[in-house]
Amino acid sequence: MELIYVDNNATTRPAPQVFEAIKPYLTDLYFNPSSMYEPARSPAHAITRSRETVAKCIGAGDARQVLFTSCATESNNTALLGTAQANPGRRHVITTVVEHPSVLEVCKELERRGLQVTYLSVDRHGNLDITEFVKALRPDTLLVSIMHANNETGVIFPVEQLSRITKETDPAIIFHTDATQSMGKLPIDLQGDFQHVDLLSFSGHKLHAPKGVGALFIRKGTPCRPWMFGGHQEGGRRAGTENVAFIVGLATALDLAVSRREEDHLYLRSLRDRLESALAEQIPAMQINGQGAPRLPNTLNVACHYIEGESILYRLDEHGICASSGSACTSGSLDPSHVMLAMKVPFTAAHGSVRFSLSRYNTPQHVDRIIQVFPGIVASLRKLSPYWDHENDRPRKDASTLLGQNPGTH
């Protein structure tokens, strides 16, 4: 059975070119780039070249503004904790309810340390309300941290506009964006549309580089205090011997993604749209989350009413299809995903959300196969559901009053 991997917002297959590029640094060119002898020049140069490549890909200009880290979670932690440390006079942070936990949980920690955090809401399509954002800006606002594209739904936030409004309000407010999901998929120019962004995070393994490497763009002059000490690496902003091989991998993968972005974009969108319309046609009572908002071309998040996501994934797995779900049962918590809840996806569907996220390595045959099996899986699970009218193949008329609206029947 062929494996059909459609969970690329979780991680991606390393590109063959990336694998080739990093090999020398895991074999003959293993030297510490900080060492003085001649052989160490090669890995040291590789880091310099990689930094320049990354800077070019994101329009950063001066490459010294690019910091290599171990992952996007580290980049996000550095951005939030580092700016809070460096600016004790300001005590207010603005973020959104749908951020990745590596931002949300840091914000909760900042609250425990005495800062105030405003969590912006989203509408049922996943869009932010710009008016709510404007009203949230305060004289003591330290940082705005708003993701570029959402990992669960692919919904894109207008970072260009939000960062401009922020800086026009007060140039001292720091603007951070988590671009982990959009990097390589959407154009990012830190001297162009993104000129008002001070800090930008992303990781390698979402764009066909290995896991264990990420980057943080820090615009020159941004007050951000390091929290890893004990080495001069990365200009003293991130101590620790550089992960040379993976840094090379990150730069190679990003260069590849940017060079074929438009081509990949069209390809992914055509696959996604075909999958989306076929499923929408065949499956009754299914909603497409984020449909009313601008979205990444590779992401499809569907919610099937009256069935549960984990059992869907289990059945997909039987067919060799790897996807993910916002269901409570897949997370170890008992709530469905915070993104589904924030978008007010009804409880009847939030537990049944499934995310398909494609990459350039997916084929039209993969999509065909999903279209072939997914509607049947949904139907078979609905046969088990107490909320389904099996004769007419639709939700029971009393589905909303049956069990559902009264959690107190325990």
Partner: protein
């Protein structure tokens, strides 16, 4: 995230999904006992029905012959429902005997369940109990008289401790005792209480207090979070003599009088989103909103007007 299920659990799930002969998916029409547990809000729900072979004179000698379920839930919830039906049908129980079937029996039948899935087995046991109570009502059997705890009124009279899952204090207390739950994670794993917002963990009368009362020992409470909630003074730096209200009124008037007529000529209008000190946030509507040069035009036009008419420090930000 690999699935940590036993072969038995996976087997029951797959059999159920494929509706193999001998599985128990469905609902008995006009059943002798019907019980429900869970809700869609909680992520899983079970509707359990059974039929008995009625004894001509003594309802207590009725024997359960057939059991069916409809389940909304994850792999293990569906497998647990299957397991419940197998146990009940194979046992040849009277309904009162069936009350002796516990969630442990279901877990055993499934050859084990991951900790965070224990609640699936509890759901089965609860639905069974509810179905037996339903049977008793239909058959006119007074379970109370037999010494069965029907804990009828616990939900009605009980104070709700876990708001997320609507679980009352008597219910939680009973489950803590019955299932021998010794910690908050154990409670959450078994009956979900405290599993969502978690605010009931350490509040007065919350889960920890219930544990302490039932087991009579004081667990170490985690250090309280240092929460600083201080209202910030929303900047009173306006040096103009006008109150904030007067200031914004004056801006609105200037825009209505000098700006909107010009925009209207082009089929547009302008909305003030917010005013902070001397910053005025505006949004264009109508034809102007899609015009390429609009935001720059707006900024220049509105800013110049407001500087002249209201306050020279005003800056306009287009939103």
């Amino acid at each position: 995230m690999p699935w940590d299920y036993s072969e038995k659990t996976k087997q029951l799930f797959m059999d159920a999904v494929q509706a193999k002969p001998g599985t128990h998916l469905g609902e008995i029409e006009d059943p002798d006992g019907l019980g429900e547990h869970g809700s869609i809000a909680c992520g899983d729900a079970l509707r359990f029905t059974f039929r008995v072979r009625r004894h001509p004179t003594d309802p207590l000698k009725d024997v359960i012959t057939e059991a069916r379920y409809l389940t909304f839930g994850c792999t293990s919830a569906i497998a647990a429902s299957e397991a419940l039906c197998y146990i009940i049908e194979e046992g040849g129980f009277t309904p009162v005997q069936a009350l002796g079937v516990t969630n442990d029996d279901i877990v055993e039948f499934l050859e084990g369940l991951p900790d965070q899935k224990i609640h699936c087995s509890v759901m089965g046991a609860e639905a069974l109990e509810a179905a037996v109570f339903d049977w008793a009502k239909r058959r006119g059997v007074a379970l109370d008289a037999l010494g069965v705890d029907t804990h009828d009124d616990e939900q009605e009279e009980g104070r709700i401790v876990c708001n997320c899952f609507s679980l009352s204090e008597p219910y939680i207390r009973r489950k803590v005792r019955e299932l021998g739950l010794k910690s908050i994670p154990e409670i959450t794993a078994a009956i979900k209480a405290g599993g969502a917002c978690m605010s009931c963990h350490h509040v007065p009368g919350g889960l920890q207090d219930i544990l302490d009362q039932v087991w009579g020992e004081r667990a170490v409470a985690p250090s309280a979070h240092a929460m600083v909630v201080e209202a910030l003074d929303p900047s009173d730096k306006r040096s103009s003599q006008l109150s904030p209200y007067q200031f914004s009124k004056k801006i609105e008037q200037a825009i209505a009088k000098y700006v909107n007529p010009i925009l209207l000529d082009d089929g547009g209008s302008m909305e003030i989103i917010d005013i902070k000190d001397t910053l005025v946030y505006c949004r264009l509507h109508g034809a102007c909103a899609t015009c390429v040069g609009a935001s720059k035009t707006l900024k220049m036009l509105v800013e110049r007007t407001l500087k002249e008419r209201v306050d020279e420090r005003i800056r306009v930000i287009s939103v």
